[in-house]
């Protein structure tokens, strides 16, 4: 009796569940990410910003930082990384408090973009992707969402120019936005960050506390309003929007390691990024 019914179930399994050893496998293209350079503004392709939320007490975050480094290795300047130290795991260790990685502005950006389920986490082009609970997505999805965003054509190209005064630490930033297609979103904004790489500060790692950890792309400050400066001009194809901004770098920051990050994005409830770009402060 048992044998009979189990035989029936085995047979039914094969029939109903469509077992097959063969299926057409997806094609892997290791490290084939397309252009690794942003190039001149006239040839600028779609560029994607990844805002990673991290912390010096987050043991899983160094692996996430390396995952972003691997993405940068493939996509080059087309990927714009920002590591924002915010949230519970960003509380500095006493010996590294001077590094100033955790900032109140970083905390405000975390609140603005939404709280994650855990750390490390990142927001890719500020999009709330289908199937995700909010904008914050876990590390093993970043590559997919970055590739998905990079596959689109840019509707805006961003040209950035920087003039750094070594004596005063002042940086004058000129941002020109070249509109390639009509943009009829009600609320479009420009957000500009300053980031710094190669900051030596304590970090918890799977091997223990590393006092000489090199932090990359760490968010330092926002030059515009935290939620972005509203662009009031008509964004019709062919027009060029110009913005001039200025910021003074903190004396503890190394200008040669700092980047200017510009993000053109929607405002209001939808924050999707339209285009991003970054250049070094000292060119």
């Amino acid at each position: 009796m048992i044998k009979k019914y189990l035989s029936i179930s085995f047979l039914a399994s094969f029939l109903l569940l469509g077992f097959a050893c063969e299926e057409v496998a997806p094609v892997l293209n290791p490290t084939d990410g397309g252009s690794g350079s942003g190039g001149p503004v006239s040839e600028q392709k779609r560029q994607v910003v990844i805002e990673e939320f991290t912390g010096v007490r987050c043991v899983n975050c160094p692996a996430a930082s390396e995952a972003i480094a691997a993405l940068v290795g493939v996509y080059g300047d087309r990927l714009v990384p920002v590591a924002i130290h915010a949230g519970f795991f960003a509380q500095p260790y006493p010996e590294s408090a001077d590094a100033g990685l955790e900032t109140s502005t970083g905390g405000a950006i975390l609140t603005f973009l939404g709280e994650p389920l855990g750390f490390p986490t990142a927001v890719v082009n500020r999009r709330n992707f289908d199937g995700e609970e909010n904008r914050q997505v876990v590390q093993n999805t970043w590559a997919g969402y970055v590739a998905e965003e990079l596959a689109q054509d840019p509707t805006v190209r961003i040209d950035l120019n920087s003039a750094y005064n070594d004596a005063t630490g002042n940086v004058d930033i000129e941002a020109d936005l070249y509109i390639d297609q009509n943009i009829d979103f009600e609320d479009v904004r420009l957000t500009v960050y300053i980031t710094e790489s190669n900051i030596t500060a304590t970090q918890l790692t799977p091997a223990g506390i590393d006092e000489n950890y090199k932090h990359k792309h760490a968010f330092r400050t926002v030059v515009t309003a935290t939620e972005g400066d509203i662009i009031n001009e008509n964004l019709t194809a062919g027009s060029v929007i110009n913005r001039n901004l200025s910021v003074t770098l903190d004396p503890s920051w190394v200008a040669a390691e700092c980047d200017i990050v510009a993000i053109v994005h929607q405002g209001g409830a939808v924050l999707d990024v339209i285009q991003a770009h970054h250049i070094p402060v000292v060119e």
Binding site: M1, L17, P26, G33, N134, V138, T141
Partner: protein, 559 residues
Amino acid sequence: MKCYAYIICILALCAVIPTVAQENGGRLSGSLETNANFFIRDSLIGAANIPQYDRQKFGGEGWLNLNYNNWGFDFGLRYDFFNNSNLLNPTGSYTDQGIGMWYIRKKIDRLGFEAGYIYDQVGSGIIFRSFEQRPLLIDNALYGLKVDYDISDNWKIKGFTGRQKQQFDTYDSVIRGLNIEGFVQGDSTSNWTMAPGFGVVARALDDASMNSLVATLNLYPEEDLFEPRYNSYAFTLYNTLSKGIVSWYVEGAYKTDDQLNDPFGVIVRDGQEIIGDKFIFEPGSVLYSSLSIAPPKWGITLEAKRTENFSFRTRPQAQLNRGLVNFLPPMARINTYRLNARYNAATQELAEMAFQADVRYAPSRKLSFNVNYSHIDDLGGTLLYRELFTEVLYKHKRLWTFTGGLQIQNYNQERFEFKPGVPIVETVIPYFDFLYKLDRSHNIRFEGQYMATGDDDKAGVKQDYGDWVFGLVEVSLGRNWTLVASDMFNIDPGKNSPIDDSGERQSLHYPRFDVYYTTGPTRLALSYVKQVEGVVCTGGICRLEPAFSGVKFSTNTSF
């Protein structure tokens, strides 16, 4: 659009049900559960820096469940709402509402079907279990169709297909399964029975998840690359053999090659080892057995489980409690007393070898003993968790009842919470529970526990949060009212206890006061709570379980 059409149909049905119900003898039943949390910021204990404490001040959730039976049909509908709720994400805020579940069931002779949100399992759930667990906001219902057929009086076959629920949406991967279960017994002179079963569940990965997986794999070094598969199949064969006082359950499950996330994966880039999330491609297996023996006055249960690479999720990118297709039975005792339940052994999906023995002996109605021992290693022999739990219960002339015992734990915090370099947490917890009946409807109950924690030699202080003491007084006033006051006190702070401005570790109190009112099927609870925070790192990501400070009000009723 189709979804809305279904919902409109269901609502229309419900609208006519009250009148029809009375005419045709249908039955309408249901239940309501609500939680309202008022958040009071207390940065000293860490109840701060989440939206509810900082600006929202209130969060709540509720479920209204309706069931109706008539004309041979069963209908069900559940309305869920979440307003600034911290249940989905303890550090975030979730707001949404709508039809959280509906179903239609019908039995036509030997054929049955169910459409809508299906809660079911195959065997013990090792290859498939769709279930709801509200305290963690797990709701893994399968949104689809199930058909079953009674082959004979004792044999039944069922097949199902659908997609897994994700709040008010669904994941895109398609799940399909088949299960046959039977019941066999010996002739009239024998006293044995068997309940064998076989099941198979398959998951076809959706294109978006596969594209995301491929994009991630493209970044891997060549030696870590693999060709992912859309379809993964999990099989299980199980049986319960009962003879007299002995009942033996055994289940073996196998899963074909599947892409899994290894939170402790190692990727070598430029000669540097990076430990963290990494996709691997492995087949999986689980062997689980449970033997129960119940001679007079005794109750003995022995369990063993071996797990290897058996993470089965609707998409490999899902982590923590998201997208779980199956359920692996836990192999440690589920403790209820506050301090006894502080350290829990989370089920390990990728590598676990676990044993558990539970022995109960009741020489008389007044006296009983219970000893439980559980031991969990990974497959390399590293200790993950070990617990010895003892309990003595004595009832004195229906006047008072004493329960007491000792719990000893070894908890691998480094592995369960991904805290590098921390020692295995060792705890010794004596506890008691004393219930005294003042009269027929008035009781007073006392509860006490002390958690002595081992030393962290490297840090020179107690491990984790150090020693705790917990006390509780509960007074039942008649049938309706129950008052409870308790306090959890960090009597000897440890390495992770909060530090004040002077650098001293603080001994903090976490009091709680509850008032319960019960009338018929309705229970109302009003509580003032201060609850200690905790950090949990599993599945490659760290999650803060924030401290709670505030007032809770909850309602439960059925009709």
